[in-house]
């Protein structure tokens, strides 16, 4: 019986199917462990070895890990919400109400919303920890810059998602927020230097071609802005953020793993 079990085990482990997935066998030596890490697209983003301090909660607060976990939660719940939500002036608000009142697990939208708040907070905590432990110093300065871009993308995700419920708070918050774009130097209608851009008496930058107009797709927050923010929120920014996250994690590995206490 025992030998038959071993035979079965042997035939599975030596099959082409098994070996195409687990190329190096059981990683019971350092060399095999390294090969296993390098041969796997997900694992190779992470360091082969981790310092003792790198897994110490009191040192890292796991803030970056929490942020990534929340990003995964938001991607998944966001995908589910997309099955019900329609980004049009006619349906957006009632679909949000339906997500709460009619759709099974009405809590799904709340998970997405509170997860989003939590992610913004955890990103700041991560940044604070990296700053306080001096982990932005060489050779990690490049990764600090990637991190700052990811912070901005997180805030932009938060901002674009803000409009989607299409209630009064959303519309006026985005009205106020997007008015900042009209203060862009030279490109915004109220920006410094913009009034100098003219041919004769004709202003080159107007309310229908300035930076705010490009952002909203209209002169005020309307149907065009809702659709634009939806596309940016669900596709555009997450794609860029996912790519930069991959770079971010890979860079941690390349720069010698999680920084240790001095």
């Amino acid at each position: 019986m025992a030998s038959r079990w071993r035979d079965l085990q042997q035939s599975i482990v030596s099959s082409q199917f098994w070996k195409s997935i687990f190329r190096v066998g059981i990683p019971n030596t350092n060399r095999k462990r390294v090969l296993a890490m390098l041969g796997n697209v997900v694992l190779h983003l992470h360091p082969v070895k981790t310092r003792k301090s790198g897994v110490k909660m009191r040192y890292t607060w796991c803030a970056g890990g929490v942020t990534f976990f929340l990003f995964l939660v938001l991607t998944f719940t966001g995908l589910l919400l997309m099955f019900y939500y329609r980004p049009t002036v006619e349906y957006a608000f009632v679909d949000i109400l339906d997500l709460r009142e009619q759709v099974p697990f009405g809590i799904m939208r709340e998970v997405h919303r509170w997860g989003a708040h939590a992610m913004v907070i955890s990103v700041w905590i991560h940044m604070f920890r990296v700053f306080m432990t001096g982990s932005y110093k060489p050779p990690r300065e490049f990764n600090w810059v990637i991190g700052v871009i990811l912070l901005v993308l997180t805030l932009l995700l938060s901002f674009t998602g803000y409009l989607l419920p299409w209630d009064q708070l959303a519309i006026w918050a985005i009205t106020v927020g997007s008015n900042m774009a009209s203060a862009t130097p030279l490109l915004g209608i109220q920006g410094p230097g913009t009034s100098l851009l003219k041919i004769g008496d004709i202003q080159l930058v107007t309310s229908t071609n300035d930076a705010r107009f490009g952002l909203l797709g209209g002169r005020f927050v309307g149907a065009g802005a809702l659709l634009r923010f939806y596309v940016l929120h669900c596709v555009g920014i997450p794609l860029i953020a996912a790519f930069l996250m991959a770079v971010h994690f890979w860079r941690v590995r390349k720069d010698g793993g999680i920084s240790g206490p001095v």
Binding site: T175, V176, N179, T208, F213, G214, G218, R219, G222, A223
Partner: protein
């Protein structure tokens, strides 16, 4: 049948390999990179331009606002929903206030009982004239161009032209319509 030369040619730039010289390679490289840069530039320009629509499904900035005599003394809200304009008639004139708070761009409410415009976002308050007196608003509301049509005597309002109090433009002839 000639034999291969013993030494390399004296001027390397003219070395010919199947007719390809350093000079011709550089020429093609310059051409290729110029073409690539031009194509990339054209693609980027097209992408940016694509985001600025030609046709807007928004109300026009210029609209007819009916006969001057149809306005009673005080603030008229009939155009606020569609065009974001209050038509105000006082004792001897009619003017058009733009219903956009000059603080951060929300739409204020007209409070008849308190005789003032009040913004719900951050509490800016304006008199009937549009002059600010409370809250964070840094300046008075803007007035839109207003005139009486020569054809049918109707009021024409154009939001594209603004008249600002702080620049002394409210006395401009197109900032108000005189009423007897």
């Amino acid at each position: 049948m000639s034999t291969a030369p013993e030494t390399l040619p004296s001027s390397p730039p003219d070395v010919a390999l199947d007719g390809v010289t350093r000079r011709s390679t550089l020429k093609w490289m310059v051409l290729a990179w110029t073409g690539f840069a031009a194509a990339t530039g054209a693609g980027l320009t097209a992408t940016v331009r694509f985001l600025f629509p030609n046709v807007l499904f928004e109300p026009p900035t210029r609209f007819k606002a009916g006969d001057p005599s149809s306005y009673a003394l005080g603030v008229d809200e009939r155009w606020k929903e569609k065009y974001g304009i209050w038509i105000v008639r006082d004792t001897n004139s009619i003017y058009a206030l733009v219903a956009v708070c000059v603080h951060l761009g929300c739409t204020p409410n007209w409070l008849q009982a308190q005789n003032k415009f009040k913004c719900p976002c951050h509490g800016s308050g304006y008199y009937v004239s549009g002059i600010n007196f409370e809250g964070p608003a840094p300046r008075p509301l803007e007035r839109a161009q207003i005139e009486v049509s020569g054809e049918d005597g109707q009021i024409i309002v154009d939001k594209a032209f603004r008249y600002l109090y702080e620049r002394g433009q409210w006395s401009d002839p197109k900032a108000f319509v005189k009423m007897a």
